[in-house]
């Protein structure tokens, strides 16, 4: 990543906050007060930072999922469904094999999360490879199926009789993973920030290595950049479609580790706060680069965490301001693609070669589906 790559998203964020300030003014509160509440609470120690990092964890996973798929030329709008299926599978393994020792059960649960997410995402991959049906439509439809499926399973098969809440029985104690509060002094254990956050950072690093240092990554990016040339280079495009979707879904599925093994210790229906869809925005803001995805996820987590006190301590502004800010960030990032295109257009005359590459179009594609 070059400095310029950082500059544009940063400008988008600054612009979003500037317009957000105007909105706050119109509503009749002080932007300074709102923003200092927002940032102050999100960055306070230990609760603010603890929760911010906890909120960032699923967004890193889904942001990476979307980014990997985009590098492979696929738009995965199904991270939401994939993470639901994965979280349920994680809980199922955690419940079914509750007696196993931790050393065995935790990896098994993690594997279940990854494989379930990968398998669910592989379905649209196979459909595209086999029949050419578009992955956007299929991933969206599979979201509904996933939510309904795990809802049904929870309601009729895995709910403890008499429990008024739509949730499964608890997983075995040995399936739980450590909260970071147990190792970091000053961070109370009640804050659900857990080992999955470290796993998310590790996943980001792995995605970087995968995409740019391995032959698989080369094939994924080549297919995304120019499928005809990839085919010419002896790469099976159909195989890539399935593989890329599976990797993407596996990453989305890791949200289940954070949610089930590190936070609630059971499957809780409807737990996802649109993580899968926010992941699209995160990948967009992070320019599909793993490091960018981590930074973007942190920003969105700050907004999410900071929204709570805004609601409580301001006169007029509600925490919906967070949604407005998120939407503005997305808008400005999308507009940035436009700026870039203009810049490229201006330069093009000089270099006599088209510079408006695939990136703006991919981003524009994402922008239109920002939230569904």
């Amino acid at each position: 990543m070059k400095l310029r790559d950082l500059l544009f998203p940063l400008m988008a964020v600054v612009c979003a906050f500037a317009v957000g300030a105007v909105v706050v003014l119109i509503i009749g509160d002080s932007p300074l007060q709102v923003f200092s509440l927002l940032l102050g609470s999100a960055l306070s120690w230990p609760d603010g930072i603890g929760y911010t990092l906890f909120f960032a964890t699923p967004l890193i996973f889904t942001g990476l999922a979307v980014a990997v798929a985009l590098h492979g030329g696929l738009l995965n709008i199904g991270a939401e469904g994939q993470l639901y299926v994965a979280a349920f599978a994680t809980a199922w393994v955690g419940i079914t094999f509750a007696g196993l020792p931790s050393l065995l059960l935790v990896p098994l649960c993690c594997l279940a999360a990854v494989l379930a997410g990968a398998a669910w995402a592989a379905i649209p991959g196979v459909l595209k490879a086999r029949f050419g049906s578009h992955e956007v439509i299929n991933t969206i439809m599979l979201n509904f199926i996933a939510v309904a499926l795990v809802g049904y399973l929870t309601q009729y098969h895995y709910r403890i009789p008499g429990d008024p809440i739509m949730e499964s029985a608890p997983i075995g104690d040995t399936a739980q993973i450590a909260r970071l509060g147990s190792v970091i002094p000053g961070l109370p254990e009640r804050i659900p920030l857990n080992v999955a956050f470290l796993l998310a950072l590790l996943a980001a690093w792995c995605v970087y290595v995968l995409l740019w240092k391995t032959t698989w990554g080369y094939e994924i990016r080549a297919t995304g950049q120019n499928p005809a040339a990839a085919e010419y280079g002896g790469i099976s495009i159909r195989r890539q479609m399935v593989l890329t979707m599976a990797i993407s879904g596996g990453l989305a599925g890791m949200v289940g580790i954070n949610e089930v093994l590190g936070y609630r210790y059971r499957y809780y229906d409807g737990f996802s706060d649109n993580y899968g869809f926010t992941g699209i925005a995160v990948a967009l803001l992070g320019r599909n680069h793993p490091a960018g995805v981590v930074l973007a996820a942190l920003l969105f987590a700050v907004l999410q965490r900071g929204g709570v006190p805004v609601d409580a301590f301001t006169q007029l502004v509600s925490k919906d301001i967070v949604q407005i800010l998120q939407a503005l960030v997305i808008l400005f990032v999308a507009a940035e693609a436009m700026f870039q295109w203009k810049w490229a257009g201006g330069r093009r005359q000089g270099t006599a070669s088209g510079s408006a590459g695939a990136v703006p179009s991919a981003q524009a594609g994402t922008a239109t589906v920002g939230k569904i």
Partner: protein
């Protein structure tokens, strides 16, 4: 109409596209402007047409200084331009296209009948036969070009600027097109033709201006010059226009094709031996593309019937990756679609096709890209094939067409190939690079490689090939000895006629 550019300078960022140009186009002549890609010839003419405005200098029309700020101004002065890529609305009729922007009749009622009559008159005057009521997308490329010419004439253009007009035409269409230009000249029109094909310059123009690196390096009467001199001016050094090669010493059959049918290819049989170049000539779209793609393993197996054997081995069930492994290299006809990953670096492009195995890949199961080995390979290709600029970290997009092509050829030649499938090796490539690529292909042959060459340039394919097959309508219409056959003979085969 006389057109003069005086001291015209145009800069795009750091690039000086036009450096104090002085070009004079005399009234009633055909004036060729030649130069390699990026020499600044299109820029100069776009300034004359008002597409760009010059940073300094002036434009004179019939000896009077004129302000041309937009194409509108140029059209009003009687200057028309036909671009390399046609600017036609494909689903509309010829008449509708021609009147677009200059619609006859009142603001509310469009009088197309009057326009159609005017167009008929024009097309008779210049013998530009086109049906005014035809839908543009049903017309051949040659006819579409006539529509573009009519469009300019309809706007009363006295001077026409034509940007690479023959790039899209077949040899027969080129001849027709030239007679149209001559007719226009005899009617008093002035024509400026931008091209990089020297044979055409010599055939059609009265005067030729040569550009290099944004400057005019020569302006001569066509009858006082020759191809060698023009090439030297264009490139800045002596260029070998003839291909020098010794007779082929063919070895055993490497590739044997029997009764191959796939899509447009219809029952083709031939063989290519080690150490020879078999050329395939033909009007584009007669099955060349499909033939090469089938041999490279890029078409679905189930569509292919007949046998393809390579060194005695049946290739039908062998996929593209495996074919490259056993020594079949492929330089595709369309480098942007097939040959390159434009956003990838030269390094990354230099391993496409061999990226999954050593030396490009290393580690357990060859999973990791070996950056050092890849850079070494890229640097080798860049050095051996003179790719400029020689920076392996640049994206392929940043290179000129000729350098992109050299990179692809270098990559494929490094395989090293037993059989080389090479399509349109010098399309859109500068003269200097063409000479280089031709030499490399012949060197490959002399090293014992079997070469199957497809080219739409008849001159190229007859100069390089040891045996020449002519493809028409998916079938081999005939085989000729390229050193003996005349262009007429080959042309006849190309269009389906017989000896």
């Amino acid at each position: 109409m006389k057109l003069e550019l005086r001291n015209v300078t145009k800069r795009f960022g750091a690039v000086l596209a036009n450096d104090h140009l002085n070009i004079t186009v005399d009234s009633g002549t055909i004036h060729a402007i030649v130069g390699e890609n990026g020499a600044g010839k299109s820029t100069a003419m776009r300034i004359a047409y008002g597409f760009y405005t010059a940073d300094s200098g002036e434009i004179l029309v019939d000896d009077a200084v004129r302000e041309i700020r937009a194409p509108r101004d140029a059209i009003a002065l009687g200057i028309g331009m036909v671009h390399q890529h046609f600017m036609l609305v494909r689903p509309m009729t010829v008449t509708e296209n021609i009147v677009l922007g200059a619609e006859p009749g009142s603001a509310v009622a469009l009088d197309l009948r009057k326009a159609a009559a005017a167009i008929r008159g024009l097309s008779e005057e210049f013998r530009l036969t086109v049906d005014p009521d035809a839908i543009v997308e049903t017309l051949s490329v040659g006819q579409q070009q006539r529509v573009e010419l009519l469009k300019a004439l309809y706007r009363r253009a006295e001077l026409l600027i034509l940007d690479e007009p023959t790039a899209v035409l077949t040899p027969q269409e080129v001849e027709e097109f030239f007679s149209i230009l001559r007719r226009m000249r005899s009617q008093g029109k002035t024509v400026v033709i931008i091209t990089h094909k020297l044979s055409e310059v010599l055939a059609i123009s009265d005067r030729v201006t040569v550009m290099r690196d944004g400057r005019v390096v020569g302006s001569v009467k066509t009858r006082d010059t020759n191809a060698a001199e023009l090439a030297r001016l264009m490139v800045g050094r002596e260029v070998l226009l003839r291909v020098e090669k010794s007779p082929a010493k063919p070895g055993p059959d490497v590739l044997t094709v029997r009764n191959l049918s796939v899509q447009r290819v219809n029952g083709v049989s031939f063989a290519v031996r080690a150490g020879e170049i078999v050329g395939i000539a033909g009007v584009e779209g007669n099955g060349q593309t499909e033939l090469i793609e089938a041999l490279a393993g890029l078409l679905p197996e189930r569509q292919v019937t007949g046998t393809i054997s390579f060194g005695g081995r049946d290739l039908r069930a062998v996929d593209a990756r495996r074919r490259r492994e056993i020594g079949i290299a492929h330089v595709p006809e369309d480098r942007h679609r097939r040959g390159l990953l434009l956003e990838f670096s030269l390094s990354e492009n230099s391993i496409l096709g061999v990226h999954y195995r050593p030396p490009a890949a290393s580690g357990v199961g060859a999973m990791l890209l070996d950056k050092k080995a890849i850079d070494r390979r890229a640097e080798f290709v860049i050095r051996e094939f003179d790719v400029r600029p020689p920076n392996p970290a640049l994206p392929a997009r940043a290179l000129s067409g000729g350098n992109q092509q050299k990179l692809i050829i270098g990559r494929e030649f490094e395989l090293p190939p037993v059989l080389l499938l090479i399509a349109q090796p010098t399309r859109g490539v500068d003269i200097g690079a063409i000479e280089f690529i031709h030499r490399k292909i012949i060197a490959m042959r002399d090293a014992g490689c079997a070469v199957l060459l497809v080219s739409a340039e008849l001159e190229e394919v007859t100069a390089l090939a040891d045996r020449l097959l002519v493809l028409h309508n998916g079938r081999i219409a005939g085989e000729v000895d390229p050193s003996l056959a005349t262009a007429e003979e080959i042309g006849l085969l190309m269009t389906g006629g017989r000896h």
